[in-house]
């Protein structure tokens, strides 16, 4: 008997980039995740996903609402997008009830209440992201803020990134399937899994040696560390340099561009200007160990 894990993928104030990134999963592939037993004896039953599902309209909404009723406490809710709250949430709606639009904030609340756990997919869902950037015209907030405001106490994992690497989402889902919900020790202060967000980009960057030696690129296309051209790697937590993107093909700094800090709660505003050097930041102390050694020798 194969166990079905129901998953609801709700899109709110988003651009669909997170959904497209999911499709890019290399191993397991998106086909393995949708069709096959992703781990022995377990199949992810993706009940609702607006970008891939066959059903439309009431037919689709029915599936979502039935899941909340019939599988209460047994499904994982993934929210992709920030949640618009200004003016009663009128800036975003998903489907209708009795001929009236149901706001995104209402949908998130209803679906989170009866979920087993909630995953905030992407920087918008995790922290507000670009739609919440000043002047935040629609009052966008993170999923965590909605849950707190509504007094909903559910296990929550943030998977930020604009978009996140598919492994960060599916690794988290697979971990829930195989080893259960993450404990407090598995997540950082921003509820990100330490497995993927535990280290700074800067710590694993292949251009780190150039930084340590003070060899900085002066213009795009140059060799050397991109710090002077605006790289936010020193303050950004993610494993991009090791995991790399699009089936391990490349990553931002691999293409010669500065990291724009998209996994951080500060994205985008405090990461901008994207092409200007970081200011007022305590950089990791470079070569401290050897500097002290040198003093000892003297």
């Amino acid at each position: 008997m194969v166990k079905e894990l129901p998953v609801i993928y709700l899109q709110t104030a988003a651009c669909s980039g997170c959904a497209v990134s999911m499709l890019n999963s290399a191993s397991p592939t998106i086909k393995n995740l949708l069709i096959d037993q992703v781990a022995p004896g377990v199949h992810i039953n993706l009940k609702f996903h607006p970008v891939v599902m066959a059903a439309a309209g009431d037919l689709a909404i029915q599936v979502m609402e039935d899941t909340a009723k019939r599988q209460k406490g047994g499904y994982v809710l993934i929210v992709d997008g920030a949640v618009p709250t200004a003016d009663g949430g009128v800036y975003g709606a998903v489907g209708e009830r009795n001929g009236k639009p149901v706001t995104m904030v209402q949908r998130v609340t209803e679906m989170a209440q009866d979920a087993l756990a909630v995953i905030a997919m992407g920087t918008c869902a995790s922290f507000g992201g670009i739609p919440a950037a000043p002047p935040n015209p629609t009052g966008c907030v993170s999923v965590q803020k909605v849950l707190t405001a509504k007094g909903i106490n559910k296990p929550l994992v943030n998977i930020p990134g604009c978009p996140p690497h598919p492994d960060w989402l599916f690794g988290t889902v697979e971990s829930i399937i195989m080893f259960g919900l993450p404990g407090a020790e598995d997540l950082d202060d921003f509820l990100r899994p330490k497995a993927y967000y535990g280290k700074l980009i800067h710590e694993n960057c292949p251009r780190r040696a150039s930084f340590d030696e003070g060899k900085f690129a002066k213009k795009l296309g140059d060799e050397g560390c991109l710090y002077e051209l605006g790289c936010k790697g020193p303050i950004t937590h993610a494993d991009c340099p090791l995991r790399r993107w699009n089936s391990g093909t490349n990553w931002i700094i691999g293409a010669g561009a500065p990291c724009n800090g998209c996994t951080q709660p500060e994205f985008p505003n405090e990461m901008e200007p994207f092409y200007e050097k970081l200011v007022d930041v305590d950089l990791p102390v470079v070569g401290a160990y050897w500097a002290n050694k040198a003093k000892e020798v003297k």
């Binding site: 066959a54 037919l59 002047p135 296309g221 991009c240 699009n246 700094i253």
Partner: protein, 519 residues
Amino acid sequence: MVKIVIDPVTRIEGHLKIECVVENGIVKDARATGNLFRGLELILRGRDPRDAQIITQRICGVCPQSHGIAATLNLDSAFGIAGKISDNGRIIRNLIHGAHVVQDHILHFYHLAALDYVNVADVATYEGNDSQLNSVKDFIQRGALEPFMPRYEGDYRLPPTVNQQAVAHYVKALEMRRIGHEAVSIFSGKVPHSVGVVPGGVTSTPTADNIMAYIWKIKILQDFIDNVYIPDVLAVAGAYMDYAGIGVGCKNLLSYGMYDLDGTSPDYATRERLFKQGTIGADLKPAPLDTGKITEQVKHSWYEDSISNLHPSRGDTKPQYGKKDAYSWAKAPRYDGKVYEVGPLARVAVTYAKGDPVMKELVEGSLKALKASPSALFSVLGRHLARALSAKFVIDNLEGWALQLKPGQPAYTEYQLPEEASGMGIIEGSRGALGHWIEIKNKKIANYQAVVPTTWNVSPMDDKGQHGPIEQALIGTKVKDEKNPFEVVRIVRSFDPCIACAVHFVTPKGRDLGKFRVV
């Protein structure tokens, strides 16, 4: 009279509601509502102009490369370097955007559109050795059928063996579009939301290994397009030939052109591009593109009439919710005062009408295979066919372009950030004509306007009362079964709408915002 409400329309980008009023089986009135507003235009103001390239990609995660390139061309023009992009820079941009558009077209046909035509349930009776199909058969037998069920029931016409093969191709296409994104990331770092295209050129430098890595991924896609995608479009078309006369639309087509073949002319409207710039009507006679003829009209949109009919470079947004006769937050972009459809159909038809010999062979060859006349291009099937030909036309050029790259030569040109400037960037996105306009003051973004493909296609009535393209395509359609309105979703999806794009460039004020309506 029956009212059909579809909310949400799935398998598109974004949050869309469609309402149709049906009388005696015919759509008499249609209305579309975008159910999300984010206001990115407001968010852009006051930021460093260079950041527009990164922020505007987040308009849409399905077509971020197109927005990134439109923004970059816009910034190049504002910074005075539109004619100074090196060949390496120009070509790498084309390679990034080329692989992107190809995978996007594959995504649309197989993963967004095909489930309206292909009966997945037929895999339950599959009796062969294809391991992928047998895994789908296992999936069906286990019985938890989402996200492929429920669905509209009835009008699935392909024989079981063809449906089974189409499902195998759906699975294969997932891999193909992923490989397309891998090809993009070779030069652009990662996708979605890549970083490689910047004002001045690109950030990456060509090397023998990345040129070859790119080419061999492209060859995989090329094989798929020739031997799977185009044959599948023709096979589906053969069973649904009535759709060559359904969803006709306005019959005026507009293309900005794409894939720069010349980087030295600063004028995007006339520089040499692979897909040609221009317009055509029902007579398929081409006319040159004049971006000065683009205006946005607001008589039926919730904005003050005083701002109607302005060119986007002078565009203004003065909301007036509840204005009499208005029903939409989308403005109505018009060209020379007329309604124009944009998209792969437009760029394929314009390039064909301008006499490109390769495109001529592609279009005429496929019409012949379908025993159809050129007028069939203006239809649901015509849009799907044009999308496939759009993919074929570009992919056949990518290897040759990649081989023109010169390792060791620059791919990036330096520039000065101007105190004050204005710019325009026009390009075809996967979904059609995409224009970005910028005004810079004190080295900051003072105003940013984007007129995006889906805004053209979902536009409401204009000042003269002319309906927008999707409206026109829906109105008059015969709906066989109001409970399973295949015709409506097939027409809407044939435009490949991207609602995130369409509604993110309006300014809110008042109540009940975030909606635009097409009646």
